[in-house]
Amino acid sequence: MEFSEHIKTANVEDVVLKLPFQPPMRGTLCVTGHHLLFSDRAEEREWQLLLLLRNIDAVEKSVENLLGYPQHPKAGQSQRTTGSSGTIIIKCKDLRILQLDIPGMEECLNIASSIEALSSLESITEMYPFFHRPRELSLNDPWGLSSPEQDYVQTERLWDRWRLSKVNSDFSVCPSYPGAMIVPRTVDDDALVKAARFRQGGRFPVLCYCHHRNSMVIMRCSQPMTGANRKRCREDELLLQAVIDESELGYVIDTRSAQQAQQARMTGGGFESKSFYRPWRRIHRHMERGKVLQESLIKLVEACGDPSHNMDRWLSKLENSKWLSHVHSALSTAGLVAECVERDGHSVLVHGSDGTDTTLLVTSLAQVILDPASRTFRGFLQLLEREWVQAGHPFQQRCARSAHSHARLRQECPSFVLLLDCMWQIWRQFPLALEFSEALLLRLAQEAYASDYGTFLCNNEQERCTLGVKENTHCLFQFLLRCSEREKYINPLYEPTELAIWPSVQPQSLQLWTGLFLRWTEHAETMAEAREEIWTIIKEHRERTGAEETTHTPPTHRDTFTAVENLMDELTIL
């Protein structure tokens, strides 16, 4: 298929672009296969807007045909003979809203229909990552940061009791799992195959984290297919048995309510019963998923989009969206898992129903709480790669549409945005503990929905292999780790700690992620200034301490010391 089929009007002159809190700009609009390009050459400074069409969530158009009417008295500046014009409002997946005033009704309609068609292309290989070829990157560059094989080889404490299984190398055992996984040493591949048949979508229990302090583990899987007549599977039971010693206890954290888990039996699903999984205690923690979560996001974005609400209305809309409740339950469930592992010294198995959304949310947040390695820049990206990309979070389905779309909901769900929001809450509460800043979280929130890179394409590794994603696109994570990019996302206050970081889940400790949800409002500017100021102080401090080490004259530098100490204090009590 040719993109040009969809482009009836490629260029329009004299278009007015209105961005929030900026004066309108006049320039040329251009539609290409993947981008919307607006350039304003009227002023001395050349200003361009390059918008990925994939980023567009909704297009609203209205046209006005003034033909046959007397000249409009106020149409002073641009008097077009046709007298018709149109307006397109573009709502992006990154929550930005822009407006284009286009002279000429036909042009307007053409542009709108091009955007509609090209922004919702279904075929993955036609998407922009397959065409993105920046000069400084080569397709031969390494793709991805690590693999299960490398993880296993590098983690010596696993070797004793765990092994690497390649039973899924052709994705036949579990289509949504990667080719290799870490499983208990005593369980052979045949048993894994049988256990996989007993788990929804073949997602049998695999290792995702082994705690450095006590070698307790976090595992994840999907629900067992016990069904109405309480089927059981010896291999699945033995697999879990093999994880813990006889005398020990393990916890199954089920991300559904007990009632939901019971109901799941009617449709073939279920839960681990006490009698067959003796050493495992089951705890149910209800977390919302799927459509409910998507609708929550839609409500929240809608509330944030209307500045005319009074205080009561705003607070009730905010409450009504339930978004912060979801943040709350995700963080507290992750906290519970981490508490089991670190405090009580037990291993944990996490699952919901599919094991591809809430499960990953909980396991990855628990790792951030427990594991200092996953709080580094590289470590966090590795965590995302392992726990989300490779673990088969269906990005393609979940991020097809965002909060503005009018399209009927299919499989959309902002699980990943919720993870990033929880990360932001952790960053706010522990401003020194993460090596990366809010800017990285914002970037990832954007990239998951529309990207130049292939990282978030497809739903799982199998699809990525079939379509040759790794051969034909660039890797976002590798790109972000390049020096020039990395600098933008570093947290200047980072001070690594070996300790677990326990986030407060008191409602008054959780705040709206203004950086994301109010990103395009006037609020954002002063915050950016504050971040800049933090950088300045840190840089000055570093320069002075650097100078001090050579000259040994501390007294004069006390000022910056107190400033930095205060800064630390200040931010920890935020």
Binding site: M311, Q506, Q508, Q511, T521, A530, E533
Partner: protein
């Protein structure tokens, strides 16, 4: 001392509300000024609670493990104690109720508080802030404004300071006449002068207009204020009350300015609720903070239901309106409410913080509180129940001002020289009665109490410790620190929390 029935109780448990296993056992002492808890552990850690900070003392029913006692402080700290004997518990409660609510000024802590400061230093300390200097810092042109001797010995208005800035063109007769036409004699006087536009922020109480009364002198007074800003042709009268309340006041012979009688004024109502509404609102938001592990929904519902943020927004909006008038239109403003010592103080001081970078510094905020609140007769002792008195007089008026500043700090992280701790410390001192600054309800009362001779001033004390209160992100030459602050008061720009919830911010609770 006669109020202390039991000076010492042993084996008392101080309960950690969040993590009960962190509770400690120790001895409880009652002195004439403090409740002191000394841990039995080797560290012998001490917890001191000033009696004057105690807001309420509850005694929940006795349990098998002992008799509980809950001490709630005015700075929102809560202490939970468990005493072995019910009798001791009853005694301690009775003593504390008496000690925390003295019925005369002489019993307040500030009169017995003796820091190691000699007489000369004490006198100097009381001169630490100089309001005279502050008015000259504003750059008031002496041909337009001057200090009137009219209120010498508080003859015209006993709740105002003795020195008042009024338009030079206002004759003594106009001043006295205007005072007569204003509730409690609180005539229109200058609060802040904006040098860039020559517009002034003035304050007063409501006029005694009723349905038809008028006063030529008061009309001339407003005229004089308007004329003191040569460039402008009109002025605003900002009535910070809801219009309905203002109208209801007319039945009592008070009310608001009749636009037909006053030439060239524009009347504007803001709608800040009265002290009773605010008191209830704060009670509700305190209850929200008290909830044991509330869900997110409960919390947000409680926040909305309390109306607290709505009221904070109303106060900020009042400030924003005044700033627009003064800085953008270049027009003078007269602000009043009913008596002109609560909402008027809030609106004027918020506007000053927005208009003048000086008030965003540590010294500046002190000066502002000294000027708009202390000297202009904000009724500190009534509002913050320093003495046993009418509970209907109590209201978190200055709490709301401080919270407005806090919300602004959240919105402009680089604009303020001080940090949140400074606001909390100010709040504690306003309630604690350790220093004399906030004792009484007016300058006259403080003079009659000889506060300057008998107590100490808090300002130099705060100033000496200013290193603790510095906001590291503040730079005097930063764009946020300079010029006028223009906050966004869209509801979503407010922190969904109150600064008064912060002292109790609790640790995690995942189960």
């Amino acid at each position: 001392m006669e109020h202390i029935r039991t000076p010492k109780v042993e084996n008392v448990r101080l309960i950690d509300r969040l993590t009960p296993r962190k509770s400690v056992v120790g001895t409880l002492y009652l002195s004439s000024t403090h409740t002191i808890f000394v841990e039995n552990s080797d560290a012998r850690r001490e917890t001191w609670v000033l009696h004057s900070l105690v807001g309420s003392i509850e005694r929940p029913p006795t349990t098998p493990s002992g008799s509980p006692l809950v001490i709630r402080c005015k700075n929102f700290q809560v202490y939970q104690l468990l005493l072995p004997q019910e009798k001791d518990c009853v005694d301690i409660q009775a003593s504390l109720i008496r000690l925390s609510r003295p019925d005369r000024y002489g019993e307040l802590f500030c009169f017995s508080f003796q820091p190691n400061v000699d007489k000369e230093e004490r006198e100097k300390a009381w001169g630490f802030l100089d309001l005279h200097a502050e008015f000259s810092r504003m750059g008031i042109p002496s041909n337009l404004w001057h200090i009137t001797p009219a209120n010498h010995e508080y003859r015209v208005c006993d709740t105002y300071p003795s020195e008042l800035f009024v338009p030079k063109s206002a004759s003594p007769a106009v001043i006295v006449g205007s005072a007569k036409f204003r509730s409690r004699g609180r005539l229109p006087v200058l609060s802040y002068f904006h040098r860039d536009t020559s517009a002034a922020v003035c304050r007063s109480s409501q006029p005694l207009s009723g349905f038809s009364a008028r006063s030529l002198e008061d009309e001339q007074m407003l005229q004089a204020i308007m004329k003191s800003n040569p460039a402008s042709e009109y002025m605003y009268v900002v009535d910070t009350r809801p219009k309905l309340n203002a109208m209801a006041n007319r039945a009592a012979g008070k009310g608001y300015e009749n636009e037909d009688h006053y030439t060239n004024i524009k009347l504007h109502f803001i709608g800040i609720e009265n002290i009773h509404v605010m008191r209830n609102s704060q009670q509700k938001i305190t209850d929200v903070g008290d909830m044991r592990s509330p869900s997110m929904g409960d919390f947000l519902w409680g926040l909305e239901n309390s109306g607290w943020l709505k009221h904070i927004k109303a106060v900020l909006d009042a400030g924003v309106f005044i700033v627009k008038a003064v800085a953008e239109e270049g027009v003078s403003v007269l602000v009043h409410c009913s008596d002109g010592w609560d909402r008027t103080a809030q609106a004027c001081s918020v506007a000053s913080v927005l208009l003048d970078p000086f008030y965003r510094t540590i010294r500046g905020l002190m000066v502002l509180i000294e000027k708009d609140w202390v000297s202009f007769g904000h009724k500190f002792s009534h509002r913050y129940s320093h003495l046993e008195g009418d509970p209907k007089e109590v209201s978190p008026v200055i709490d709301q001002f401080l919270e407005c500043v806090w919300q602004l700090m959240e919105q402009f992280p680089c604009a303020f020289e001080f940090n949140e701790r400074f606001l909390l410390q100010l709040h504690t001192h306003i309630h604690s009665c350790q220093y004399g600054n906030f004792i009484g309800n007016s300058q006259k009362e403080r003079r009659d109490l000889r506060i300057n001779e008998r107590t100490h001033s808090v300002w130099p004390h705060l100033w000496e410790n200013r290193a603790e209160y510095i906001n590291p992100l503040y730079r005097a030459d930063h764009s946020q620190s300079k010029g006028i602050l223009r906050p966004v008061t869209t509801p979503y720009c407010f922190k969904m929390c109150s600064i008064w919830m912060r002292p109790r911010l609790e640790a995690r609770n995942y189960i």
